[in-house]
Structures are given as C-alpha cells and as structure tokens.
C-alpha cells in the first residue's frame, strides 16, 4: 500500500496543475467576455448617438458605403488578377508541354546522330540506320539502298519486314526512289499504310553534298503508327545528311584500310 502513495501524490499534483490551468483559462475567458461586453456597449452608444444626430448618421452611412464600394473594387481587382494568373498559368503549362516535346525530339535527333557516327564499320552503320527507322520512326517494312558505283543503280543492302532481294533496284532518276535520290528531295506520302505495298510511302535520299550515296525506302509503318509526325520529318532530314555521311565515311575508311593492308603486306614482303 505504501508503494501506491507516490503515485497518488503524483496524480494529486497533476490534478492540481490541471485545476490551476482551468482556473487561469476561466479568468482569461471572463476578462475576454468583459472586454467584448464593453465593446458592444461602445458600439451601441455610438449607434444611438449617430441615430439621434441625423448628420452623424449620414456620415456613418457614407463611411460604410464608401468602405463597401472600396471592398467591392478590391474584390473585383483580386478576381481579375486571379483570372489573369490562371491564364498565365495555362500559358506556362502549354509552353512547358511544348518545351518538353521539343526536348524529347532533340533527344531523339541527338541519339540518332550520335549512333550514326559511332562507328566506321559499314555493316554497323547500316544496322544503326535500320534501328533508327524501326525504333524512332516506327517503320515495319523498309529497305536501305546503296548506290552501286559500277552500275549507278540503287541496290537494297539491308531491310526489315522482307528480304533485301525482294526490294526492286532502281536506276538513278527512274521510279519514285530513283527520282527522289536524283533530285535530293524527300518523298513522303501521308498515311503510311498504302494500298500498293510495292510502292514506297517514304523515300529519303542519302547524299553527301550533291553526291548520291543511297536511300531509305519505307513501304509500311508499324500497325500502331497512324501517321507521320513533325519529328519523323526532322529524322528524315537528319538521316538524309548524317546517314549518308556515315555510309560515305565507313566506305572510305574500309577502302583506305584495304589499301593500307595491301601496302603493309608489300612492305612486310620486302623487309622480311
């Protein structure tokens, strides 16, 4: 039982503290109540005074009307400001979406260009062109053509969706692809799901300056790709220049490597 004493005393102490706080709070409430009562009395007196004196009453009325109209004006001002902020906010949101899209497009173009110039191996370059056309453009059936310098004809060297041999060869200037390469102009039909599968819907001429290097002929887009986007057109332009340079550089490099190996072979033969 003696063990319970400290806890009883503790609880009593707690209760006392609580009671004191309650008392203080009640005092505060009473004081506040008194203050408010006095305020009401003051106001009532003021009103009674104003009611007795029509001049004072008019003055008070004027003051109140003026205050109301100034508050109305302030409210209207806030509403207009809020509306203009909302409009500004919407403009920012739209601009953000635009910039985001632009950023994505630039990233795609950067990746395409980076990959195209990441190798000097011709087969790798062609593989990268295929990857770009599949993954970034979304083509299902297409071929990469290279100009055969002996025959001056465009021959399909790599493709997707069908064997390269199934794509026709073109002489420069003839057929939709040959004409596009000869003129250097990108040919693009809207849609991308043509009736005639043998005719390309997109022809991207690959040229280094005025020299034709090859072409990309897209015959059909992936099922989920409904139409060409502005990014696709940007990619076609990029491919037209960068893929051509990449193919051209890889060809030059392979030729110079071949020559270097031949010369090295002769040197080795003479020096051994």
């Amino acid at each position: 039982m003696s063990d319970d004493r400290p806890s009883i005393f503790g609880r009593a102490e707690e209760f006392l503290t609580l009671f004191k706080r309650g008392a203080e709070f009640s005092k505060e409430l009473i004081a506040e109540n008194e203050r408010l009562r006095r305020r009401i009395l003051d106001l009532e007196q003021h009103q009674q005074f104003a009611a007795q004196d029509p001049e004072q009453w008019d003055k008070l009325r004027e003051e109140l009307l003026h205050r109301i109209s100034s508050l109305e004006a302030e409210r209207q001002n806030f509403l207009e400001r809020m509306q203009s902020l909302e409009e500004e906010n919407q403009q920012f949101a739209a601009r953000y979406v635009e910039i985001e899209e632009e950023n994505n497009n630039l990233a795609n173009l950067y990746v395409a260009s980076f990959q195209l110039h990441s190798t000097l191996d011709l087969s790798e370059v062609v593989k990268i062109i295929l990857e770009i056309v599949i993954n970034l453009v979304g083509a299902e059936v297409f071929a990469v053509y290279v100009v055969d310098e002996k025959t001056n004809r465009l021959e399909a060297v790599a493709s997707e969706g069908a064997e390269p041999s199934s794509f026709p060869s073109y002489s420069l200037g003839s057929g939709v692809l040959g004409r596009s390469v000869a003129s250097g102009e990108i040919y693009c039909e809207d849609g991308g799901h043509p009736e005639n599968a043998s005719r390309p819907v997109v022809c991207v001429p690959l040229r280094v300056q005025d020299r034709p290097v090859g072409a990309i002929a897209i015959h059909r887009l992936l099922q989920q790709k409904e139409r060409f986007t502005p990014l696709d057109h940007e990619l076609f332009t990029l491919l037209g220049g960068h893929a051509a340079t990449a193919i051209f550089s890889a060809r030059l490099y392979s030729e110079s490597e071949r020559k270097r190996n031949t010369i090295q072979g002769f040197i080795d033969l003479l020096t051994k």
Binding site: E101, N108, Y110, V111, I134, N135, L136, L222, Q223, Q224
Partner: protein, 127 residues
C-alpha cells in the same frame, strides 16, 4: 536523402538503350543499368536488386518473353515491376506479355513522355 530507384534496361539496340536512358535520367534519384540481351538481363536481375525493369521482346540469345517468364518464376523477383517494349502492337501480343506477368506494355516508336509517366507510376514517384 531518399533511396535511389534502380532501373534495368534490357534491350539489344544501342539506339533504343540510349533513348531510354535519356528519358529515364530525367527522373530524380535513379540509377540505370543496361543489359544487351535476355541472358545478360537475367544475370543482372539475379545478382542485383532492381525497382523496375524495361524489357524488349525481340532480342538475340534470349527473348524478352522468356526472360519475363524466368523472372516471374523467381520468388524474390515476383513483385518487381516490368515494362515491355516492343514493335508488336497487336492486342494478342499485349495480352500474352501481360499474361506472363508484365505490368505495362509500350509499343515502338517509343515516346519519352510515355516511358516517364509509366516509370513514375510503377516506381510511385510523384510528378
């Protein structure tokens, strides 16, 4: 500082990998690991913890569907969110991938915004 989200990209095309890295790097606090085929992906996913995996379907050595099947067969990897990335847009391909346990299905050509919003959703990252 909040914990880093680890993302695995299993994709044979370097172009696609670079694009996905570009898109996902915009998320805060992420660490991205790349695998170049299904087998490489399986090795990485077995030896390390990942909060999300983006898997291509058509890959050499081991395709994406087989990789998903193997991942979902492992008790400790069952909860890892998987996003499938593919050229196949047909409904049955989508259903097959989702049926194997993929959480999301994205078709090519890939849009960075879509990748980001899917990744944010699966990683439970607020916009």
């Amino acid at each position: 500082m909040s914990e880093k989200h680890r993302i695995l990209i299993v994709e044979d095309s370097p172009t696609m990998r670079q694009l996905l890295v570009f898109a996902l790097k915009r998320l805060k606090n992420v660490e991205i690991v790349e695998a170049q085929d299904g087998m490489d992906g399986l090795r990485k996913v077995s030896s390390d913890h990942f909060d999300l995996a983006l898997i291509d379907i058509n890959m050499p050595v081991m395709d994406g569907l087989k990789l998903i099947r193997l991942i979902r067969g492992e008790e400790n990897l069952k909860a890892m969110p998987i996003v499938v990335i593919t050229t196949e847009g047909a409904k049955e391909d989508r259903e097959r991938a989702l049926g194997l346990g993929a959480n999301e299905y994205l078709t090519k050509p890939i849009q960075a915004n879509r990748v980001l919003s899917v990744a944010k959703g699966l990683l439970k990252i607020d916009s």
